[in-house]
Amino acid sequence: MTGPKLIDPYGTPAGADPRGALQSITLDLDRTEGESVNKMKSTHLEPFPDPVLEVPDDLKRSVIVSSVDYLLNWARKSSVFPLQSGLACCSFEMISAAMARFDLARFGMEALRASPRQADLLIVAGTLTWKMAVPLRRLYDQMAEPRWVISMGVCATSGGPYYQSYSVVPGVNHIMPVDVYVPGCPPRPDALLYGIMQLHDKIRRYSLNGQAAGQE
């Protein structure tokens, strides 16, 4: 180089790791992260089956625990606390659904929990990339059962406009079982509310006698 000598902005000291101070700290972390992403990408090839409630046959119907069922399901459906998580633009529709005009509080779910330990519902609001799939699956694993998942918008449902992209998961049901799919790009808050009401209807149908909530 000609001209005055320029100073290395990162100031690598003599005798330090030849890869540079910054890289020697972070590259191992990145490799570990990359291994976990690649592991998830190579193991989650098929979508999970959607948790569909079976209609119990007549014999099972003849045993009735309906009052306990009714109470439990009513309590659960009336206080579904969603996890406060948004991935992309759909999360703004989710936020406006929680605001005064659409008022999620009517359903007893105004408390968007900041911790997965206190949440019952994971609304996957937006595009899920493979790099984000690892932390999102961890959030799902940290939620206490019974837990439910709403796939909000076409990106989460199938990849949407990013279908066949190099970095987007082709449907969040490759990562976790999904209870309700809400189509739209993004879905209006009305559509999300309808999806939530469908979920309430689903929760009401669980039975200790048949398929109890939390069984997968």
């Binding site: 180089m1 000609t2 001209g3 540079g20 590259l27 291994e35 066949q164 190099y166 970095s167």
Partner: protein, 168 residues
């Protein structure tokens, strides 16, 4: 109003302090030889007639038979801007060019992005690794010959991508 350097004028000015470093010039662009990029960029930043103290953008283009690294420079003291280009990786060989991070620190993330998505190596970069995709990702997805995971499945499946093309 920002003065935009014409390619010919800038090429002449570069040749005055770094002879033999310009490949060609046209419009508002100057094509530099890749091996002289450090010398020229350093001169453009320091010399009093340029003072290009801001690298507003660093990106790359895939022209199939070669890659082109594009530098957009801005001089705040002189209120001027210029465009430098450099052709690398002829014949899709291992493409590499000298890093300009020692000159403009803002080039750090942009060079990492170009490496991540286009696969052009920046020699002398202090932290040369992927920035957006994860470590262990196969290939560089913005290259023209990149085949994504899903498309590769479609093209090998019976009646896959080939029959789709035929249908159109």
């Amino acid at each position: 109003m920002t003065t935009v350097w014409s390619g010919d004028a800038l090429a002449e000015a570069i040749e005055a302090f770094a002879p033999g470093s310009v490949e060609s010039s046209a419009g508002s662009d100057v094509w530099l030889k890749p091996e002289s990029i450090s010398t020229v960029c350093e001169g453009l930043k320091i010399r009093s007639e340029f003072k290009f103290d801001l690298l507003s953008s660093l990106t790359a283009v895939d022209y199939i038979d070669h890659f082109e690294v594009v530098y957009h420079l801005t001089s705040l003291p002189m209120n001027a801007s210029a465009v430098l280009k450099s052709r690398v990786g002829h014949g899709r060989t291992e493409a590499s060019i000298a890093s300009v991070v020692p000159i403009w620190r803002g080039a750090d993330y942009q060079e990492r992005e170009v490496w991540d998505l286009m696969g052009i190596r920046f020699d002398g970069h202090p932290n040369h690794k992927r920035i957006m995709l994860w470590e262990g990702y196969p290939g560089h997805p913005l290259r023209k010959d990149y085949v994504t995971y899903d498309q590769s499945i479609a093209s090998t499946a019976p009646g896959g991508a080939d029959s789709l093309e035929g249908a159109e």
